[in-house]
């Protein structure tokens, strides 16, 4: 399945891109599984993101979610640091 990954703030700077379309297996159907898979396959920034997992937030289709929530084909998955607006 295909998902669209978005990065924001410090994470966007770490990856050097704002978004990326990724083809993943049907079995990689949660933010945690996607991150673990990419960390193993690509290393680099993905491995760094996995290391910092406890201090970052994830959202599926623009709703904050848990690392084990379900991902489907065509979903938008976003990684970002804790919010600091206002």
């Amino acid at each position: 399945m295909k998902i669209n990954i978005l990065f924001f703030a410090g994470i966007r700077e770490m990856f050097g891109i704002h978004e990326k379309d990724i083809e993943i297996l049907e079995s990689e159907n949660s933010p945690y599984k996607v991150l673990s898979f990419l960390s193993e396959k690509e290393q680099g920034s993905w491995a760094e993101l996995l290391n910092r997992k406890d201090s970052i937030r994830v959202a599926i289709n623009q709703e904050i979610c848990d690392w084990d929530d379900h991902l489907s084909d065509g979903d938008e998955l976003a990684f970002f640091p804790p919010i600091t607006g206002g």
């Binding site: 924001f8 703030a9 623009q62 904050i64 970002f80 919010i83 600091t84 607006g85 206002g86």
Partner: protein, 154 residues
């Protein structure tokens, strides 16, 4: 209910006029305006030159609408307007305004504080501070999470 994300400066007087707009049921309007501080550290050694505000288009609007709806479900309100700026800002520039109109002042005061407390933890904005010492993404504050949680027991 209105939510605006914009680069441009906002005019709170105009927002209030728009909310009021001859509605005689409104007896109170409470507004909160947040500004860029010159210093973010107590030592006042590191003066800010610029602040860059990034957000997640689409999710930001949804998150703010959800906060407005939550406020409306807790208090009787006539109208709510939230405006938040993004892009490059300078010290003293206004960042955010929350304007709440209600029949009685208590509801407007409470709802305004509730909205800004939730905005700080639930609406996807990120601040980067630029000073002579370099660039730094602002860290989230534990106090903000505590402030938000305190509404659970209100």
């Amino acid at each position: 209910m209105t939510v605006c994300i914009q680069k441009e400066l906002f005019d709170v007087e105009k927002i209030i006029s728009k909310l009021k707009n001859g509605k005689a049921s409104i007896g109170a309007v409470v507004s909160f305006i947040g500004y860029v501080r010159e210093y973010n550290d107590h030592s006042k050694k590191n003066r800010l030159n610029q602040m860059d505000l990034e957000h997640y288009p689409g999710m930001t609007e949804k998150a703010l609408m959800k906060i407005e709806l939550n406020a409306k479900s807790r208090w009787s309100l006539e109208d709510v307007f939230i405006v938040h700026r993004v892009g490059k800002l300078l010290p003293s520039d206004p960042i955010v305004a929350v304007v709440v109109a209600s029949q009685h002042r208590k509801n407007a005061f409470k709802a305004c504080e509730f909205i800004i407390d939730f905005l700080k933890t639930d609406a996807p904005f990120w601040k980067k501070e630029i000073s002579d010492h370099g660039e730094l993404w602002v860290k989230n504050r534990v106090e903000d999470d505590k402030k938000k949680s305190s509404w659970d027991i209100e």
